[in-house]
């Protein structure tokens, strides 16, 4: 980061998924997950979801992870990060991506985004099917 600050993370998604992912990161990486904040869309309209996301994002540099690119969470993330250089969005979050994030939060935001997208993609592989 140009100002020496580290990037904070917000995971926004459907139902219990955000809390579950952050909890999984905490189980694996410990306190490194402390700056990863879950935001669920459960029971929230667009305005409330956007307000909660903005509050979780705060004023610093933030990377917002969403489950789906479209829909209420993806749209809330896009609104929250629109025209703000200190915020970025990655859609299609997965656990390997988040684990890589918590240990590389000191990277410049654009570099971090590229790295995590690659990490997330590389983590998706099919295990061999028995007998094939």
């Amino acid at each position: 980061m140009s100002d020496g600050a580290v990037v904070r993370g917000v995971v926004i998604g459907h139902g219990d998924m955000p809390r579950g992912l952050v909890d999984a990161v905490r189980h694996i990486a410990g306190k490194a997950a402390d700056d990863l904040v879950p935001v669920s869309n459960e029971g929230k309209g667009p305005a409330q979801l956007a307000a909660e996301l903005n509050e979780a994002a705060g004023l610093g540099t933030v990377l917002v992870f969403t489950d789906l690119r479209a829909g209420s969470c993806g749209i809330a993330a896009a609104y929250a990060c629109r025209d703000l250089e200190r915020r970025a969005v990655i859609c299609g979050v997965n656990l390997p991506m988040l684990l890589d994030f918590v240990f590389h939060r000191d990277l410049p935001l654009p570099e971090l985004v590229d790295r995590l997208v690659e990490t997330g993609r590389e983590a998706i592989v099919a295990a061999p099917i028995a007998g094939s």
Binding site: K44, G45, Q48, R69, A70, G71, G74, I75, A78
Partner: protein
Amino acid sequence: MAVVLYRVDERLIHGQVVIGWGHQLRPDRYIVVDDELSASEWEQDLYRLGVGDVEVLFVTADEAREQLGAWRAAAARSILLTRDTATMKHLAEGGLLDGEAVNLGGLRHGPGRAEVLTYLHLNEDDVRDLQAMAEAGVRVTARDLPDAHKVSLETLSRSLWK
């Protein structure tokens, strides 16, 4: 008729609509009736991300009233969405939706709104809009997903005023 679903949902195009309803109704297009969105290409692009190759139209409420007859007569199957009851009521004025069913799929917390169902919160203006629609010949029910229980306007009203 080729408008296969009229839905009030403040999230407009989102997972429940595209996955839940879309997979069952197989629409050829989504019609979003919203004065603000019809003037914002940036926001339209956001909503289009969710539907793949399916066509999405963004129109004002007045444009929708003019096009409604054509959409209903068309071979293309449409899902029509508004983000609030006022816009759907405007579409129904003058009997334009007489005999049609309107689905209430998602209104959450807002000024003066009380919870009627987990996904449906209504205020006095909403209720007036819904009653006006019913008087204009519209069958109003609430259901967030196709396999969920359908709740009638009468039941909603009783829940609200009990």
